[in-house]
Structures are given as structure tokens and as C-alpha cells.
Amino acid sequence: MIVEAGLYMALAAALFLVGAFGLLLRRNALVMFMCIELMLNAVNLTLISAGRALNDLSGQVAVFFILVVAAAEVVVGLAIIVAIFRRRATASVDDLSELRG
């Protein structure tokens, strides 16, 4: 017995929703970053289940590349958060609004 791909994709949609929810509602830069990771994982899960439903390994290769890009993104993003914290001593994005247009 096999779980249908649609169920995996529904779970991925729910995970993406929770991540988007957190990104919009939280003000702590670190937690917002974790929510972005949640959304990336949801998309990865979608790609894996689509690749399985289509009998194609390319989905897994794409997920591999997304993992690499996400790792690079985390490195740079956390470095930016630390640099901002050293200047402004805050991790709340509401206090960092002087770049707004």
C-alpha cells in the first residue's frame, strides 16, 4: 500500500502555509529565517513526491541543488543578522526600517 503523491503535496502545502504565516507574523529576524527554511523544506517535499509520481530522478537532483543553495543562503543570512546585531543590538526587523523607500 502506497500513500498517494497528493497527500504528500497536501502536507507540503500545509508546511509552506505555516512557514508563510510565521514569516508574516513574527518580528524576530532569526525566527523569520527559520520560517524561510520551513518553506524551502515544503517545496523540497513537493519536488520529491512529484519526482516519484513521474518515475523521474530529476526531482531528487533538484532537491540536492536546493539544499546546497539553502546552505549558502543560511551562511550569508546569518552573517548579515550578526553584522546588524553588532551595529544596532537588535534582532527585531521593526527597528531596522531605515532602508524603506
Binding site: 500500500m1 500513500v3 502555509l17 508563510a20 519526482g51 540536492f64 550569508v76
Partner: protein, 173 residues
């Protein structure tokens, strides 16, 4: 069979972790929730025969990325000040609309699981989607070798950029 049982367990685990990430006051709890989600998603990968990706997920995400998060939380301190009372002029309405849309999407996916718009979705062929290291490497080093080299460059640039950001001193740009 094991797959439906494991799917339900891991779906509940990943959703619980995700909700913990969003709802926890303490960023350390958020990181722990993220850890739970990442592990559950790795198990879901194994259920879908993506063995190599599951291993990479545990090593890179749960190992390296989460450790990095915890280190940064340690560096900038645990800020438990309330950030739910902030003025959010339009975000809450936006979240409501988004929730409705994605709930509709998820419901449609669940109800019409074997959708017609996937042309070749005719059951699963265990051989062609068995994501062992051998199978992944064959694709990675033939069709995707240019992208693979590009990721090496990307990682080098990211490391150099992180070092440059960490060396920043006030008054010197």
C-alpha cells in the same frame, strides 16, 4: 504496510514542529521545532525512496544549518520580548487570505490525489526512482555536471561573503 502509518506519524511530527517554530516565544524552542520538522521530512524522503537526499538533509540541515542557528542565537542572545503585540496593519488579513487559498489547494490535492495534469503518473516504478547514491551520482555527473560545478563556486562565494561580513568594523567600509 508501513508507509501510511509512518506517513501519518511523520506528518503530525512535522506539522507540530512547524507550529512550534512559529509559536514559540524562545528562539531556542523554535530551533528545536525546526529540528523536529527537518527530521520528519527526512523520514518522508526515505518513504519516497529518496535515500541520498534524506541523508543529506539530516547531515546538512539538522547537522550544520541548525547548529549555525543555535550558535547565532547564542551570539545575539535569547530575545524573549513579546513581538506578537506589534502593529501589523495588513499582514493578518493577508495571512487569512493565504491560509484560505492554500487550504483550498491542499484540499484539492488530497481529494483528487491522482491528478490528470501529471502525464506519466502511472504507479511507481521502484527502480527508476530509487534515489541511491549511485543513481543520483549518475545524473549529477552527466546531465547536471555544469550546475554541480556552479554550486561549488556558489559555496566558495558564500563562505567568502560570510567572512567579509564578519570582518566588518564600524567606520571602515
Amino acid at each position: 504496510m508501513a508507509e501510511p502509518i509512518l506517513f501519518v506519524l511523520m506528518a503530525l511530527g512535522s506539522l507540530a514542529g512547524a507550529v512550534t517554530v512559529v509559536a514559540a516565544r524562545n528562539p531556542v524552542y523554535s530551533a528545536m521545532g525546526l529540528l523536529g520538522t527537518l527530521f520528519s521530512v527526512a523520514v518522508l524522503y526515505v518513504l519516497q525512496l529518496a535515500h541520498f537526499v534524506a541523508a543529506v538533509q539530516v547531515i546538512v540541515y539538522a547537522g550544520a544549518v541548525l547548529t549555525l542557528f543555535l550558535f547565532v542565537i547564542m551570539l545575539i542572545g535569547v530575545d524573549t520580548s513579546e513581538d506578537w503585540d506589534e502593529k501589523l496593519p495588513y499582514q493578518r488579513a493577508f495571512v487569512g487570505g493565504l491560509a484560505g487559498l492554500i487550504a483550498l489547494f491542499a484540499g484539492a490535492l488530497t481529494l483528487f490525489g491522482n491528478f490528470e495534469w501529471v502525464p506519466a503518473a502511472t504507479g511507481t516504478n521502484l527502480d527508476s526512482t530509487n534515489g541511491t547514491i549511485h543513481a543520483i551520482a549518475e545524473l549529477l555527473f552527466t546531465d547536471w555536471v555544469l550546475a554541480f560545478e556552479a554550486t561549488a563556486l556558489l559555496l566558495t562565494i558564500a563562505a567568502a561573503g560570510a567572512i567579509a561580513l564578519a570582518h566588518y568594523r564600524r567606520g571602515q567600509t
